[in-house]
Symmetry: C2
Subunit: 302 residues, 2 copies
């Protein structure tokens, strides 16, 4: 693992034209532009679809050899991002586990505050079950805000007595919209771009008139009994580090098979840079091994 | 993984004639008797030795095919246990990584309070380096009190600028002798045998006239920068759960490659019961994979 790679990535991130505390419309355009500058690999095909009435993007790499499905919730602090902006990362992981990704285009704040995203996540998962997919062949992956959304979804499934997926992978999940983690302030400056002040604007957008400590908004306060095995990955250089650590604590105490996997010296979202960062590649390899271990599937009949 | 196995193990542990808060001499005898009732596997050979002036037990399984060494620190709340009482577990892990174990017979409290054990741990590691073993082929493993001892050793190596080993595996480490973890009280009754009250007797034995918050005694308060990759394993049914979680937090924040791996529904020391508990077997397999990944070694020349 090279310090040079980490420095180059940090420089790239610091210079990116994204100001997460800024005007939403402008930031969405910037984010789209940044990510569309990195074309998808040649073997990736994307097809818009619908799951339980929610728009999704089906992402496939080559010919899937089995019927496992990764249900994906993208990041973007609940206000920006889309299945397309995270398709580079989701297709990378899809290729590593040879599975199809269905990436949920949940509604964004501030136009659609809580519980819109949560309703969409739930409808998409129920739609997937209704389509006849065996829950043991479903894995859930969420990045950042999508990670918090995924945990809240899993907790709601447990509460409603619905079948859980085989496992979940949470990449630097945003799990506390009260922003009470100590690293929210102690990591400022070490985290190359995010600050408590900036993300508090987005928390307010999503929370709307609800309580930020509502367990459906901040799942570190939720009852997590009954969740499937979870892998939480984070970088040590992010203000969200305590969101990952406290989620791991909550899930461990609630008798969930829990793995917390922290890569030192890397920022939020480092896995998306696997092509230029060995640590990102290694982390995705571990995520893929975790998914392979927990997913069961039938061979595809083509 | 079977609920039946977990119930049987819990019953076994509850009925064991060990009262960790009781008279030390009596508990040492009980512990020896309990563990000697489980003979070592036929392929295990143990040879007493000396490392840096500290007595050790060399534990080998079959013919080691390479020169990697696992330096082992047994558990027992700093007052009971020995390389022999933990040889079942240490030889099991040794066999899985095909490495030799050198288990340190550090001095015990209350006869030898802090810093005796710490001095012995340090002398043994330095003795191993002096014997010419490449630090990249050394892994450190510590269980319970031995886990806390191991982390304190690694922090002292960093402070003294000495070569770190390749990695460390910490099995339910006791990292906070101020006993401030919330699970110290919230897990009472869920943890089948240990209570804050009982282990506070042992903490007092080890701390002696020192400060329990001294980072060399309670390494969750230490500066952990410079430590090698660490894997922390714990069970969710133990009062020490927060000791593992807070160690993971400290090491992650201090830029250490950190994995926290919590197995639900199992008690302190569950890995020692790998033969009768699938979860123990699976956890040791993950620990072995971690050691294999991080250790480098030369093929043995026999």
């Amino acid at each position: 693992m090279s310090q040079q790679q980490r420095d180059a990535l940090e420089e790239l991130i610091r210079k990116a034209p994204l100001d997460i505390g800024g005007d939403v419309i402008e930031q969405r355009a910037n984010f789209e532009k940044m990510l569309s500058a990195r074309p998808l690999a040649d073997d990736v095909s994307t097809t818009p679809g619908d799951l339980g009435g929610v728009p999704v993007l089906n992402i496939e790499t080559g010919e899937a050899s089995h019927d496992a499905v990764v249900l994906w919730f993208h990041g973007g602090w609940y206000v920006i991002g889309s299945p397309r902006t995270s398709a580079g990362l989701s297709s990378d992981l899809a290729r590593r586990v040879d599975a199809k990704v269905i990436s949920v285009d949940y509604r964004l704040a501030p136009e659609h505050p809580y519980p819109a995203a949560q309703q969409d996540a739930s409808a998409a998962y129920r739609g997937l079950l209704d389509s006849g997919v065996d829950p043991r062949s479903i894995a859930i992956v969420g990045e950042s805000a999508g990670g918090g959304l995924a945990v809240a979804l899993l907790a709601s499934l447990a509460e409603d007595g619905l079948a859980q997926p085989a496992c979940a992978v949470l990449l630097s999940p945003w799990t506390d919209l009260t922003l009470s983690g100590e690293t929210m302030t102690s990591m400022v400056g070490i985290d190359p771009v995010f600050t408590r002040e900036k993300v508090s604007v987005r928390a307010a957008d999503y929370v709307g008139s609800a309580d930020p400590a509502d367990p459906s908004i901040s799942p570190i306060f939720a009852d997590l009994h009954g969740l499937p095995p979870i892998l939480i990955q984070a970088g040590s250089h992010e203000i969200l580090l305590d969101d990952s650590i406290r989620l791991a604590r909550r899930s461990a105490i609630d008798d969930v098979d829990t793995t917390l996997d922290v890569t030192p010296g890397v920022p939020h979202g480092f896995q998306a840079f696997a092509a230029i960062l060995d640590e990102g590649d290694a982390a995705l390899a571990r995520a893929a091994a975790f998914l392979d271990h927990h997913l069961s599937w039938a061979e595809a009949t083509t």
